[in-house]
């Protein structure tokens, strides 16, 4: 039996929520700045990866194997940046506890902050790429009004990324194969998610499989509000959000159950 009474030895000073907010925003900002520290281009590098992919896809799928998707650059770029956040976020969160033992041994730090910081830092990379998307949209038909709905979709994506990241992070502490498995899964997931192609072009027999993937729904929602200029259907989107909350809650539960013993395994 092991009991740590009250809120354990974690700090019980007033304003814990204020503290958690300060801590997480500070560390996310610090990680982001460190990522591009001492580079000449700084955070502009955040755009380089999605842009490189876009150039390849735009050439491949409009010149060599035309997919016949209108506004292909906007279509593909919307998908690429959202997928990049998801895949990088999940995989960096997965290895976060193992990589950041120095944070886990801090008495006052809420443990769940460790994977959350990874996911949010990658979220900043997503935000850094948005100006490029805005530029593309302005060159085309302009930015649709429905773009104001973007934060809601990002919030739902955050739920999924965080939920998966928390659970996989806990698993990775006990079984280091998890990190490698996640990397391979993300490679596969990139092709099994309509990032650079349209879900509608998938044969109808298989399409339901595609839609088991929440990222497929999220990408469609992103494209609806950013490229097409429509709001996603409300009921399916709410369902997506509710499932997201459940995924995040389960991830958080797994993480909080296992994390008090992490340091023994690191």
């Amino acid at each position: 039996m092991s009991v740590i009474s009250g809120a354990g030895t974690r700090s019980k000073r007033p304003g814990r929520r204020r503290y958690s907010w300060d801590l997480i925003t500070h560390l996310v900002g610090r990680e982001f700045r460190l990522r591009y520290r001492r580079t000449v281009l700084g955070w502009l590098w955040a755009m380089s990866y999605p842009l490189a992919r876009l150039v390849v896809f735009a050439f491949l799928f409009t010149r060599i194997l035309p997919l016949g998707i209108p506004n292909y650059a906007n279509f593909a770029f919307t998908g690429i940046i959202a997928w990049t956040w998801f895949s990088k976020g999940v995989s960096s969160a997965t290895s976060s506890a193992v990589d950041r033992r120095d944070l886990l041994v801090r008495p006052s730090l809420p443990r769940a902050a460790v994977p959350a910081i990874s996911v949010l830092t990658d979220g900043l990379d997503y935000l850094a790429a948005l100006p490029i998307l805005a530029l593309f949209l302005l060159i085309g038909d302009g930015i649709p009004l429905t773009a104001v709905f973007l934060p809601a979709i990002m919030a739902v994506q955050l739920l999924y990324t965080l939920g998966l990241g928390l659970a996989l992070c806990a698993a990775n502490v006990y079984l280091r194969d998890v990190r490698l498995l996640v990397d391979v899964s993300m490679l596969l997931g990139f092709y099994l998610t309509p990032v650079f192609y349209d879900a509608q072009s998938v044969p109808e027999r298989y399409r339901f499989l595609l839609y088991l993937n929440p990222m497929a729904h999220l990408l469609e929602a992103y494209r609806d509000v950013l490229v097409v200029g429509e709001l996603p259907a409300l009921a399916p989107f709410l369902l997506l959000a509710v499932v997201g909350i459940v995924v995040c809650a389960i991830g958080y539960l797994v993480y909080t159950l296992l994390s008090p013993f992490f340091v023994d395994e690191l």
Binding site: S2, V3, I4, S5, G6, R10, R13, L104, V105, R106
Partner: protein, 394 residues
């Protein structure tokens, strides 16, 4: 009122298989479990504002106990009740980043230790001045010396308004003057009602800081009570069985098994006055005051010097080669090395002083680069040696 209550706490670490297959090829085999009990049935209480010392040799469970108190991990059996928030010195310097400036690291460190942004910002000035790094705060940490880093880390750790402070063997920071400053700061925290648990194998630290102490042997409490009383028990046990002797270490510049201990090293000039400045070609006497905690036959005393600038070893003298005056050692004693002429060029040098077992198998006590000595004169010479000389022409 008890601030910390530890009741029947045991902590098990499990190595190799923890019920889960570690490798695919061992799948199906029943994994062999290696249990290690780092703590066994430990119970004690600490009152608010009290300081309790935790002593014991390495791997006796001191660090595990502090980790449990910090809430970093949980006991396998038993319970721990803690009333206020814990701040630890457990992770001195951890989480610092070499590319960030001293100020950014201090700010980060203060937030990681439990302050909000606003609180951390308010304490920055105080941290910088305590660490004596005001002029260096905007420089990146990678340009800092080890001593500067530790000073900064220590300054951060004690400026975060701790309610309960856990100190784990980290008081050997910087030079003696800075250590003294750290001690007096800890004493002012004690006076302000902070509850302190300090783990150390330095008995003097325990005696100075704590009113009560507990002594851990293999994870169990061997003795608990008034610190002077526990220290006496510890000392008696140590002289009974030398295996209990703690290896000597000071900030990575000292090691040894400790049967013979160097108490003090003095550098004396021709008049027998203590000095650290030698005229070129002048004499130098190195006086080593030591105590042999048990009878030792034929120890070897070593004194060597390195150039501070390039690390070149200038001389390496020991009592082993000519037999030397050293015979049986027991109890306190003094050994002196007389250098009739120190023909070194001007500049700074560091002396290593050590006492080794007669077969050179191990060091009883060895302090390297611990004693600075300056030879006056121009410091820009490329050579180390300046033999007595004169020029002539025919």
């Amino acid at each position: 009122m008890n601030e910390i209550e530890v009741a029947g706490v045991s902590k098990r670490y499990r190595y190799a298989s923890s019920g889960m297959p570690r490798k695919l090829k061992t799948l199906g085999q029943r994994g062999e479990r290696v249990d290690h009990w780092a703590l066994r049935e430990v119970s004690f209480a600490v009152a608010r504002g009290e300081t309790v010392g935790v002593m014991g040799k390495n791997a006796s469970g001191k660090s595990t106990l502090l980790r449990l108190l910090a809430g970093i991990t949980r006991p396998t059996v038993g319970s721990i009740r803690i009333l206020r928030s814990v701040s630890g010195l457990l992770t001195l310097g951890g989480g610092m980043h070499p590319l960030l400036s001293g100020e950014e690291n201090a700010f980060s460190g203060a937030i990681l230790a439990g302050l909000t942004r606003a609180e951390a910002l308010r304490r920055l000035q105080e941290i910088a001045s305590f660490a004596e790094l005001e002029e260096h705060m905007d420089q990146p940490l990678r340009t800092y010396s080890d001593g500067m880093r530790l000073r900064l880390a220590f300054a951060v750790a004690i400026h975060v308004d701790p309610e309960i402070l856990l100190v784990d063997e980290v008081l050997a920071v910087g030079d003696l003057r800075f250590q003294e400053k750290c001690f007096s700061h800890l004493e002012s925290l004690q006076a302000a009602g902070v509850t302190v648990v300090v783990a150390s194998h330095d008995l003097n630290q325990i005696l100075r800081l704590s009113t009560r102490a507990l002594w851990l042997v293999d994870g169990s409490i061997q003795h608990i009570g008034e610190s002077s009383e526990v220290v006496d028990h510890y000392k008696t046990a140590v002289s009974d069985s030398m295996t209990l002797r703690e290896p000597l270490t000071i900030g990575g510049r000292r090691h040894g098994s400790g049967e013979v201990e160097i108490l003090e090293v003095r550098l004396l000039d021709s008049r027998g006055k203590e000095t650290d400045l030698i005229a070129p070609g002048g004499p130098l006497t190195v006086e080593i005051e030591f105590v042999a905690h048990q009878e030792v036959l034929g120890a070897i005393f070593v004194v060597s010097a390195h150039g501070d600038r390039d690390g070149i070893r200038c001389f390496d003298l020991h009592t082993g080669e000519q037999g030397g005056p050293v015979g049986r050692l027991h109890g306190p004693g003094i050994v002196r090395l007389h250098l009739d002429r120190l023909d070194l060029t001007g500049g700074r040098y560091r002396l290593d002083v050590g006492i080794f077992e007669s077969s050179w198998e191990r060091a009883y006590d060895y302090l390297w680069q611990a004693f600075p000595v300056q030879v006056s004169g121009q410091a820009d010479e490329v050579a180390v040696l300046r033999p007595p000389h004169r020029w002539s022409m025919q």
